[in-house]
C-alpha cells in the first residue's frame, strides 16, 4: 500500500513516515501543496494523509482540487483545527476521515485500515480467500488455521494481491505499492519476495500471468 503524507512540520512528517513504514506501507512525504500536486499527478496512492495548515495553498484547497479532478483517493485529514465547523467543512470538501492533532499513531493506522477496507468494498477487516486469511491490522496471515510468518515486504505483496483476487498486478505496479521515492529497489526485488511467498504458501497461491504479472486466484 502506498501512502502520501502531506505535512509541513518536519518532525511530524518524519515520525509519520517512520511509523507507517513500520506498519508495512510505502510512504512518500511532501511538505507543501505544490509538491503534493506533483506527487498525485505522477503516482497513484492508496490513501493520502493531509495536513490542512500548509504554507501556500492550503490543504482544503488541495483536497478540493483532487476531488474536482475526480480523483477518488481516500483522504484522511490530520490537523490541529478541532472545531466542529472545521470538521464538517473538511468532510464536506471531500475528506473520508478527520483526525485532530495530537493523535495516536495506532489510531491513525486503524483509521487508515478502515479507509482502505471501505475502498476495496469489504465489510470485514480480515481478507479471506478459502483457507487463506490476511488480517491487515495484526499483519497475521493464516493458511488452514496455522500462522505463516512473512516479512513486511512479503506481507505487502500478498496484501496487494489479495485485495483484488483474480486481477493480476504487474511488477512495476507492485514496486509502486511497496517502495517510496527514496527507497532503493533491487532489480529483481519483487521476484525475490514472490519466490519467498510461494515457498511459504505453496506455489498455487501466487500465480504468474505471463507477460502481465502476478495474481492470487479467486478460488485456490
Amino acid at each position: 500500500m502506498r501512502l502520501l503524507v502531506v505535512e509541513d512540520d518536519a518532525m511530524i512528517g518524519h515520525s509519520l513516515r517512520t511509523g507507517l513504514r513500520q506498519d508495512g506501507y510505502s510512504v512518500d512525504w511532501v511538505r507543501d501543496s505544490a509538491a503534493a500536486e506533483l506527487a498525485t499527478a505522477t503516482t497513484d496512492y492508496d490513501a493520502i494523509l493531509l495536513d490542512l495548515g500548509l504554507p501556500g495553498k492550503g490543504g482544503l484547497e488541495l483536497l478540493a482540487h483532487w476531488r474536482k479532478q475526480q480523483n477518488p483517493v481516500p483522504v484522511l485529514i490530520i490537523t490541529a483545527r478541532d472545531s466542529v465547523a472545521e470538521r464538517i467543512l473538511g468532510l464536506d470538501t471531500g475528506a473520508d476521515d478527520y483526525l485532530v492533532k495530537p493523535f495516536d499513531l495506532d489510531e491513525l493506522s486503524a483509521r487508515l485500515r478502515a479507509l482502505l477496507r471501505r475502498r476495496s468494498g469489504r465489510a470485514t477487516p480480515v481478507i479471506e480467500i478459502g483457507p487463506l486469511s490476511l488480517d491487515p491490522a495484526s499483519h497475521e496471515v493464516r493458511l488452514d488455521g496455522s500462522e505463516i510468518n512473512l516479512s513486511a515486504r512479503e506481507f505487502g505483496i500478498l496484501h496487494a494481491l489479495m485485495e483484488n483476487p483474480g486481477a493480476p498486478l504487474s511488477r512495476s505496479q507492485l514496486e509502486d505499492r511497496l517502495y517510496g521515492w527514496q527507497e532503493e529497489i533491487g532489480s529483481n526485488a519483487v521476484e525475490v519476495h514472490i519466490h519467498a511467498l510461494r515457498r511459504k504458501l505453496g506455489s498455487d497461491w501466487i500465480r504468474n500471468v505471463r507477460g502481465v504479472g502476478y495474481m492470487v486466484p479467486r478460488q485456490p
Binding site: 509541513d8 512540520d9 518536519a10 518532525m11 511530524i12 518524519h14 515520525s15 509519520l16 517512520t18 511509523g19 513500520q22 511538505r31 507543501d32 500548509l54 504554507p55 501556500g56 490541529a80 483545527r81 485532530v100 492533532k101 495530537p102 493523535f103 495516536d104 499513531l105 495506532d106
Partner: protein, 434 residues
Amino acid sequence: MNSIRRKLLLTLIGAMSLVMVIGAWATYSAAREEANAIFDYHLEQIALSLRNQNFQGSTEALVGEESFEFVIRIWDRNGIEIYYSRPNRELPGVARLGYATEHTRDGAWRVFALQYRGLTIAVAQPLSVRARLAARAALHTMIPFILLLPLVALLIWLVVSRELRPLTDLAHSVARRTPDALDPIGEQGVPAEAWPLVHSLNDLLARLQTALQTQRDFIADAAHELRTPLTALQLQVQLLERASDDSDRAAAMADLKQGLERSIHVVRQLLTLARQEPGTGEPAFAPVRLADLATASVAAHAAGAAARQIDLGIAASDPDAQVSGNADALRTLLDNLVGNAVRYTPAGGRIDVSCGSNDDQAWLEVSDNGPGIPAAERERVFDRFYRRSGQETAGSGLGLAIVRAIADKHAARVELTDAPGGGLRVRVEFRKNA
C-alpha cells in the same frame, strides 16, 4: 449617601425660603412706612377737626375706627385738662407741637399736638397698631408661599427624579455589560451633561474589548500552535515504544529529544510573548548600553554559531549608544534576532551585530548573508505563528512577534531590509527623546 436628588431638593427649598423671608421683610417695611404716612396724616386731620368742637359731647365719631386706638386729649390755656377720650390709658405729656414719638409704660406712641385759641389739642396713637398692620400685610404675602411649599418640594422631587432617570438607565445599561458583551452604551436619550461620562465609558469598553479579544486570540493561537509540537512528541514517544532494536531505539530517542527541545522552546517563547503583550504592566525603565547587550548576546550564541561554522561577531560598537528601557526585555529582543540569524543562515555564513547612535536615535542592527526574506513577506513575518513556507528549521513562529512587542513597548521601530551581502538586515531604532 451623596444624593444629587436630596441635595437639589434641600438647596432649592432653602433658597426659596430665604427669598420668601426677604420678600416678607420687604413687604413689612414697605407696609410700615405706608402706615406711618397714612396714620400721621390721619392724626393731623383729627387734631385740626377738633379746633371748633364743643368738648361736652361725644367725640366717638371723630376718633372713628376703634381698632386704630386714637386717643385725644385737650387742655385749656391754664393747662387744665378739659377732655381725655381714654383716661384709662397713659398718654405721654405734650413736649412740643407737631409730630413726636413718645415712650410711656403703655409702649411707644405717635403724638400730634397743636394750639388753637388757647387750647392745646393732642392726638396720639400707639405705634404697635402700625406694626401690627404691617405685620399682617407681610403675613398675607407669605401665607400662599408657606402653603405652597410642600407642593413645590414635591414638584422638585418629581422633576429631579425624572431628569435623573437617564442616569439610572445608564447605570442599568452599564450593569448589563459582561466580559462577553462589551458593546458600547447607546447615546440616544443621554442628556448632554452625561455625554462626557458615556463617551469615556464607551472608550474604556472599546479598549477593554480590544484587550480581551487580543488575549482570546492569543490563547486560541497558543492552544492551536501547541498541538504541532505535542503531536510530534506523541508520535516520537510511540516510535520509541515500538523500536525493536538498539539502533532504532537510539534514533527514536534522538528524535524525541529534539521534539522535547522544540516543545520547550515554543512554550518558553509563548510565555515571553505573553509577558510582552500590551496591558501586562510596564517594567521599570533604566538606561541600557546597547554595546553591552550586543556583547552579551553574541557571547551567548557563539557556541551555536561555531557549531554551524557561522562567523558571528560584532561589526561596529558605539559605547555611547544608550537607550532608556528594560534591560531584560531588550536582551530578549536581541537574542531573538541573533538566534533567528543563526538558525536561518546556512553553514559557513556570516552574521554581524552592531550598535550605534547619533543625535536623534540609537540603533541595534543584525545582518546576515543568509537567504533573506522577500519584501512581500516582511510585514507578515511579524505575525504570531507565521512561518515561511519551505523552512527546514522548525521555529516557534514567535521570534519576530516577540521582537515587535518589545520594540513597541520601547517606542522603537523594527525595519527589515536587504543586507549588503544579500541576506537580511534587521534594524531596531530607538528615538532619543522617547
